[in-house]
C-alpha cells in the first residue's frame, strides 16, 4: 500500500475553492487544495478572483432606502 497522494487536478481544486475559503471542507481536502495551490499559479489566480467576488458580493449588501419608502414603513410601524 502506497501513501495516499495529495495531488488533485485543477478542476477539483477550483471546485473546492469557495468551500476552502469558507473553511467548509474536510481537513484532508484542505490539505489537497493547499498542496495544489503551492505549485499551480493558475489556481492561485482562481483563488484570488474568488476572494474578489466574495468582496464584491459583500459590498452589495448595503443599500440606501428611498426616503419615501422609509417614511411609509415608519408609518406602518407606528400603526401596529
Amino acid at each position: 500500500m502506497g501513501e495516499m497522494t495529495t495531488a488533485i487536478p485543477c478542476s477539483d481544486a477550483v471546485r473546492k475553492l469557495w468551500d476552502y475559503l469558507d473553511h467548509a471542507i474536510a481537513p484532508e481536502d484542505q490539505e489537497k487544495v493547499e498542496h495544489h495551490l503551492s505549485f499551480c499559479r493558475r489556481c492561485c489566480g482562481e483563488l484570488e478572483f474568488a476572494k474578489e467576488i466574495r468582496r464584491f458580493l459583500a459590498s452589495g449588501s448595503s443599500e440606501e432606502i428611498p426616503i419615501e419608502v422609509k417614511a411609509r414603513l415608519e408609518r406602518f410601524v407606528e400603526e401596529l
Binding site: 478542476s11 467548509a24 482562481e46 484570488e48 478572483f49 458580493l57 422609509k70 415608519e74
Partner: protein
C-alpha cells in the same frame, strides 16, 4: 463565536423565531404602559433595521420588497414580547423576513428545479475572462471586470438566479448568515443548502458573464484582430 447563532430558534408551528430561554422584561411587567413601552422599543428597533431589511428584501425578490418588509415587521411585532433585547435583534428581524420569503415561495408553489451540478461545474469566470479578454489593454482584467458592475447590475444578476440558489447565496455572502442558520431559515437540510450554494456560485459567475455581454458592460468582439 456569535452569541446569536444558537440562541435563536423557530417557534414550533410558526415562522417566528424567538429566544428559547428567558422571560422578556415586557412579560414581567404589567399594568398600563407596558404595551406602550414594548411598542416604543419595537419602533426604535424597526427604525434602525429598516435599511438592512429593505436591502435584504430587494435582493430576495424582484417586486414586492416593501410588502415583504411590512409582513416581517408585523410578524416581528407579534413575537417581540418574547425577544430578550440584545444585539441579536437585527438578525432576528432579518430571520423573520427570510421566513416570510420562504413561506411566500411555498404559497406560489413553484416547481423547484435543481440544476445538475455537472452542467455548471465546468464554467470558470476567471478562465473565461482570460480566454475572451474583454479588456485587452487592462493590467487587472478580473478586477476591472467586476468594477463594471454597478449595484443595480449586481441585483439584476442575482435576480436572474432561481430562488433556490439566490437565497442561500445572498444570505451567506451578503448578509453573513452561517450555513446552519440558512438551513434553519429555509427549512432545508444542511446538505441541500451546501449543494445549492455550490451550484449557486457557479450559476452566479455564469450569469455575470452573460449579463456583462448582453448589457454592454464588456465590449463584444471589437478587440479581435
Amino acid at each position: 463565536m456569535r452569541p446569536s447563532d444558537d440562541a435563536i430558534h423557530s417557534v414550533p408551528g410558526t415562522s417566528i423565531p424567538r429566544r428559547a430561554m428567558g422571560t422578556a422584561p415586557s412579560e414581567r411587567m404589567s399594568g398600563i404602559g407596558t404595551r406602550d413601552r414594548t411598542k416604543e422599543a419595537f419602533e426604535e428597533l424597526a427604525r434602525n433595521e429598516l435599511p438592512g431589511l429593505y436591502s435584504l428584501a430587494r435582493r430576495l425578490v424582484r417586486d414586492g420588497a416593501e410588502d415583504l418588509v411590512q409582513e416581517a415587521l408585523l410578524q416581528g411585532y407579534r413575537g417581540f414580547g418574547t425577544l430578550k433585547m440584545d444585539a441579536a435583534a437585527g438578525r432576528w428581524l432579518k430571520t423573520i423576513l427570510v421566513n416570510v420569503f420562504r413561506d411566500q415561495l411555498r404559497k406560489r408553489a413553484r416547481s423547484v428545479e435543481e440544476v445538475a451540478a455537472g452542467d455548471l461545474d465546468d464554467f470558470s469566470l476567471y478562465r473565461t475572462l482570460i480566454d475572451e479578454d474583454p479588456f485587452p489593454y487592462s493590467d487587472s482584467l478580473h478586477t476591472d471586470f467586476l468594477g463594471t458592475f454597478g449595484r443595480e447590475d449586481l441585483r439584476e444578476v442575482l435576480l436572474r438566479l432561481p430562488d433556490i440558489y439566490r437565497a442561500p447565496l445572498v444570505l451567506r455572502y451578503m448578509d453573513g448568515f452561517s450555513t446552519k442558520e440558512i438551513a434553519r431559515q429555509l427549512e432545508a437540510p444542511l446538505g441541500t443548502i451546501l449543494a445549492r450554494l455550490h451550484r449557486g456560485r457557479n450559476l452566479f459567475e455564469r450569469t455575470m458573464w452573460a449579463y456583462a455581454q448582453e448589457s454592454g458592460l464588456t465590449p463584444r468582439g471589437d478587440h479581435d484582430g
